[in-house]
Each structure stands twice: as C-alpha cells, then as structure tokens.
Symmetry: C2
Subunit: 326 residues, 2 copies
C-alpha cells in the first residue's frame, strides 16, 4: 500500500515516516495489514538533502496543498492511507490570515476530496490541535466533550477540519480520525512560527549550551506531550477499528499539564552534571496573549480507552530527546 504524509518533511512528519518504515505496514482500506511499498512525503518545500533514514520506499515531493489538482495527484491509488499534517502554525496564522485559510482550510478540503475520489475507503488521520479550545467560554478542563471556542485562526481552521473529517466519514467518503495534539516537545532544530515554539527551545537550547529566551511567565500552564507518544498516537489512531469509534472521530491525545517552571525543573533533573545554557525570561505580550488563551488542563479518557500512548513522565520525554538527538 501507499502512505501519504502531508507536511511530511516537517519534524513530526519525518518522525512519523521513520516509525512507519520501521513498522513496515498498516491496515489498508481492504481491512488487512499490507506492507508499505511507497511512502510519499508532501510538503511546501523539499529538504536541502534527502534524509539519511529515507530508504527506496520514500518519495519526497514539494508543492502547493491549496491546489486541488496537485493534491489529487498524490492520492493516486486505492490501497492508500493519508496522514494530513500540513498546516500553517498558530503564530504564523495570526500574522497571515489568508495563508492560514488557504493552507489549513482549502488544503484540508483538497486532501479530503482527493481521498473521497478513491473507490476504496482510505483511512485519513488528521492532525488537529488543542488550540481549538480557548477564550472566556473555555471549560476549566477541556476534552472530547467540550465546546470548541478557538481564539486563533489556526485553532478555528483545526476545529473546522475536525467537523469536515466527521462529516466526510459520516457520508462514507473516507474513514477519518482526528488527533487533537497538545504542545509537542522536544522539537529539534530551529524555532518555528508556532506561538509554542519556545516550549521546545526551553529544553533544546540549554542542552545545546545556548541561551534560551522564554517569552512568557514561568507560571504559564499548558498540556504537553513527547513526540514519540504523538507519533505512536497517530499510528494507533490509524490502526483503530472503525467499529470501535463513535460518530465523533476526534480524540484529544493524552498529555501532561505543566507550567514552564515544571519543565525547567525536569530539564535540570535530567541534565544532572551536564552544563546547560542560560534560561532568560524575556516577556513577549504577543506570545503571552496567545498562550493565555490556551487550555489550562486537558482530559483524554477516550484516547486512553482506545490505547493511545502517553510518555512515562516529563523526564522521560527529555531523556528520549537526548537519546535521539544529542
């Protein structure tokens, strides 16, 4: 079978691709486990060089997800699954509304239409976000039964795509599942335009001996999850039997609700004698305002029931990052 990952050369896209190559196969639309013979990573730009882990099954293609014809051409087989991760991120979406709508809404619709056009019933896993929650009307603990009141265009488009995934699935156009992601840690490499980018920087820069600037107060709270559990969640959600899912196909992934202070403490505990770069608080009202609108706590009973994974601890997430990247 073929697997398409949109946003496939991003951090999570590449981690997911590696996990799928290692796994070797997935449940195909036929219902049986099939080996993956093609893994297509589609993204806005090709990486400067082909990743070292990419074997002959991997194809990398750059293009415009807001172009229906380009997206339709990706989904060119009936024995196919799609992980739709491509997205303008939160801070980026606040700065460019039109781009957020074009990539997140039109792009989503293009992916959903491409899957609908197949004669089979492809499984589609959509990467949503807990940024679908926020604002004055937000429940103290948000989960699968909480009203979605996004306070960013990013969150609004994620909520819209959750609705579309449910409706396309209800109509029998494809077999959709949405994973609602908390803040992902620890992203390697450079900061990105996500308002949450500093959360990975908080671990990454000090471990690299670099100074880290935190744009929010140390009591800022957010739900987080390690990338290994995120990738595991995507795959487990793909593999879940549709008969075990109800008419709401969206699941808040498991998470840890922590403060910036909790994360710094965990970093220091794991680092031990390792010399860390400095952590400096440098308030940025733009980022603080976005983070203040985020959920303060998240529940995830349906994800747990479905067996979606959670890291052992915040420390374990930091240890995994050191093992994988340092």
């Amino acid at each position: 079978m073929k697997v398409v990952i949109t946003g496939g050369t991003g951090f999570i896209g590449q981690r997911l691709a590696q996990a799928l190559l290692q796994r070797g196969g997935l449940t195909a639309p036929s219902g049986s486990q099939e080996p993956i013979d093609e893994l297509l990573l589609f993204d806005v730009a090709e990486p400067p060089q082909r990743p070292a882990w990419a074997d002959e099954r991997v194809k990398i293609l750059s293009g415009d997800i807001s172009d229906p014809a380009q997206v339709a051409a990706l989904v060119d087989r009936d024995d196919i699954s799609v992980f739709h991760l491509a997205s303008v991120v939160s801070g980026g979406g606040e700065k460019d509304f039109d781009l957020a709508l074009r990539v997140n809404l039109t792009g989503g619709l293009n992916v959903f239409e491409a899957c609908r056009a197949r004669a089979s019933l492809p499984r589609v896993v959509f990467a949503s976000s807990i940024a679908v929650f926020g604002g004055a009307g937000m429940a103290p603990v948000v989960g699968d039964h909480a009203k979605q009141t996004p306070q960013t265009t990013y969150g609004a488009t994620k909520a819209i795509c959750e609705l579309l995934v449910n409706d396309y699935t209800r109509k029998g156009f494809f077999d959709g599942r949405s994973a609602r992601l908390p803040t992902v840690i620890v992203r390697p490499g450079k900061p990105n335009a996500a308002a949450s980018s500093f959360v990975s920087g908080l671990f990454r820069e000090p471990l690299n001996g670099e100074t880290c600037r935190i744009p929010v107060s140390e009591d800022t709270v957010m739900p987080v999850l390690g990338y290994r559990a995120i990738v595991g969640g995507f795959i487990a959600l793909h593999e879940a039997d549709g008969a075990d899912l109800d008419d709401d196909r969206a699941f808040s992934l498991p998470s840890f609700t922590v403060t910036v202070r909790d994360m710094i403490d965990a970093l220091r505990r794991v680092a031990g004698d390792r010399k860390l770069g400095e952590i400096v608080f440098k308030p940025d009202p733009f980022i603080q305002r976005i983070c203040d609108g985020w959920p303060k706590d998240a529940s995830y009973e349906r994800a747990t029931k479905l067996g979606l994974p959670k890291d052992a601890s915040l420390e374990a997430i930091v240890e995994n990052y050191i093992e994988d990247y340092l």
Copy 2:
C-alpha cells in the same frame, strides 16, 4: 445605508425585508441609526413577480453565491449591513453534498470576504441552525455552551460558519453575530427540501382544508419558534451593542420544545370551529432519522439576556399565521 439579505427572496428573507422597510433604519457601521435607502435581496432565482410590499428601496438580484466576484459586487458601500440567510437546507444538503459545501461553505466565505473588504466594520448577521447539534454525543439540553456535533452536512456547514463569523469578528474584519435558529413555523406556500418542512405543513395544510402527511411519529420532539420572533431576533441581534457581546458571537434563539402531538393540539385549539384538512401519519425513515438526530431540548439564556424575542405561546404562533396569511 444599504442592507443586503442573501437568500432574500425566501420566506424568512422576505419577512425580514418587510420588517426592515417598516422599521426604516438600522445601526450603521458608524454606530448611529441610519435610514435604509437600499435593500438588496440576493437569491438563487428571482421571484416570478415583484412582491407587492416591495417599495422603491428594494432591489432584487439573482445570482450564484458561490461566485466571489458576484458576492463582492453586492457589498459595494461602506455604510452597509448584511443578513446572510442563503443556504442549502438540511434534507437538500443530505442529497447533494457538493451543493451544500458550495452554497453553505464557499458562499459563506464569499460573504465574509466581501464584508472584510470594506473600509468600515459592517455588521453581519448569519443564520445558523440548531442542526449544529446532534448524534450520540449530544447534551440532553443544547445551548450556547454545548459542543457542536452535527449529523448533517447542513449542520456541519452551519457550525463551520459560526466558527468563521467568530474568527473574522475577532480579527476585526467585520462585526458578526450568528443566530442559531430552531425549526421555523409556520412557513406559508409549498413544502421545501428541509427535513423539517412537514412541521409547517402540519399547520398550513389542514388550515387550507388540505390533507397533511406527517413523515414522523407523533412523539417526535423538536424546538420551534414562530417567524415573527425569528425576524425580531435577527434585528435585535443586529442592533445589539458589540460591547455587550463576548467572544462567542453565536446565540441560540429562544424556542418552544414541543412534540408533533403538542403542535396538532395547538392547531385544533386555535382552529375552533374552522374545518381542518385531515392529518395522516405516513412514516418516512429518511426524515425520521434526521429528526431523531435533532436536539430534544434547547436552552437560550444568553439570547434572553440580550432581549431576543420569543412568541407568547404555540397558539400565538398559529394565530399570527392565520392573521398574516389566511
């Protein structure tokens, strides 16, 4: 000022137009009450003849709401307000998914972009529906704080447009308000493609001495509201001070939760000695299934607080219909 009503030649569109002509003015983007010098009714088709009530302020134009250029041309002044009522209805949307997306989603986006393009901050009133609620995950009583879990493409596109109205408003692109309508009674004229069409027929056909066929069981429950209160709600929502609204601009309108039996009883009480056409139960599983997915009860505290009107009783709604149409 100019007022645009999309879906303006439909039943509610025409009632709203008449109420606006009678009222004479609205709060303009400037913040002051301005007389309406142009009232543009935009719809998919022109009515066979110009309505008798339409004075020289009224323009009627037919076109395609899914065409951005046509919609932009409607919103051609800064002193303007838009009531966005155009929509594929519930039953129609279930039978033609693509049309529902084109009219309800693309059409909505076109209206929102046209208003955003103005230098002023036009008020936009969007007609949503309690069809945004439904399914196994639905709360026993649905209201402004309940999660939206639509079970029709109609309901999904309404939920999506509520999210868009909130986000365009948050971004300062226009000043939006959404009215979440229960089933509207009593629609005159012919049945339409709405799954709820029979609810008006239940009153209308017997009062006309015609036989009425009810496609659902007599204990089928739904929240309903009379068209006078619906129109009053649209106008009151338009006139509300933005400072009194929070970041969720969508309001469930007041409603009566009644059974088919309650409505037949109210009809008989109001009819008195009037000879009624026969009421026949003729089950239609397609319609019953849609109605079974609808809310069984609705709350509307925020609407009440804002002063949105509610009819005095179910009987009063029937009396209004007799006064207006018989």
